[in-house]
């Protein structure tokens, strides 16, 4: 039984996310980021940001909505019952602030098999309303028992 790799190179429509200050604060609370810059616009402005600024890992909040259509695409054919999130990489660029609109595009970079496991690697590229890249993500999902 070979692993189906047709979806390699496939891209999905970009998904936009409007960043609100409350959402940044809620996320900062959940992960324990205590800086007032994530909650208070004047604290963020004192530090040189346009508005309440998101912690780097807030990338998960604004890029995940674009990941859904990719990983649930029937053409990718991932077996969710046997899937685990195996690895994650982010690179950060322009900071993300309240009031930004972030667009994220996802591409299936590779589907490969090793030791009976399928490795599905997706790349997300997120840009703000000015076209500046805020983050690039590489998401690796591992599916057992494909060999």
């Amino acid at each position: 039984m070979g692993l189906r790799t047709d979806a390699e190179g496939k891209t999905w429509d970009s998904v936009s996310f409007a960043v609100e200050a409350d959402r940044i604060g809620q996320y900062a609370d959940a992960v324990g980021e205590s800086s007032p810059m994530h909650r208070d616009a004047s604290a963020a402005k004192d530090a040189g940001y346009r508005d309440v600024v998101a912690p780097p890992m807030f990338v998960v909040v604004y890029s995940s909505p674009a990941m859904g259509p990719a990983i649930f695409d029937p053409e990718v054919e991932m077996n969710f019952a046997a899937m685990v999130h195996g690895g994650q990489r982010f690179e950060w660029g322009e900071p993300v602030c309240a009031g930004d609109t972030i667009s994220t595009e996802v591409e299936c970079k590779s589907i490969s098999e090793r030791d009976g496991k399928g490795f599905y690697v997706f790349e997300s590229v997120s840009t703000n309303q000015d076209g500046a890249q805020t983050a690039k993500g590489s998401w690796t999902n591992i599916v057992r028992g494909v060999g």
């Binding site: 996320y27 324990g32 980021e33 690895g87």
Partner: protein
Amino acid sequence: MTASFEAGDSLPEMRVTPDAGLTKRYAEASGDPNPIHIDEEFAKKVGLPGCILHGLWSMAQVARAHGEAVGDPLALRRLEVQFRGMGFPEQEVSVTTSVTEADGGRIVTETEAAQGENRIIRNASAELAV
């Protein structure tokens, strides 16, 4: 922040214990609806000992440990991790980090997160602008 870092330095260890309600708060904050993190019965039905931590929450702890170590939560330029053992609520997570490269305004680290002997994030590396 004017602290300087050299290759071989350890960054301060960060310890945090996720409380029983954490996974629900993180699920809401992150938008991850997967029931294996928030529904004890569902988690057991699919063969887990109970609700497990979100890997991306654990990764966020590694990110936070770096930001706190250099005194700037926005210093992180890159973070890559592998998720291995499952993490569980109500057990202390410790993040340990050492500097592998330091030149001018840039440091590179190797880092991991563990609950006791259970290393939940390993082979991880970060780059920061300091």
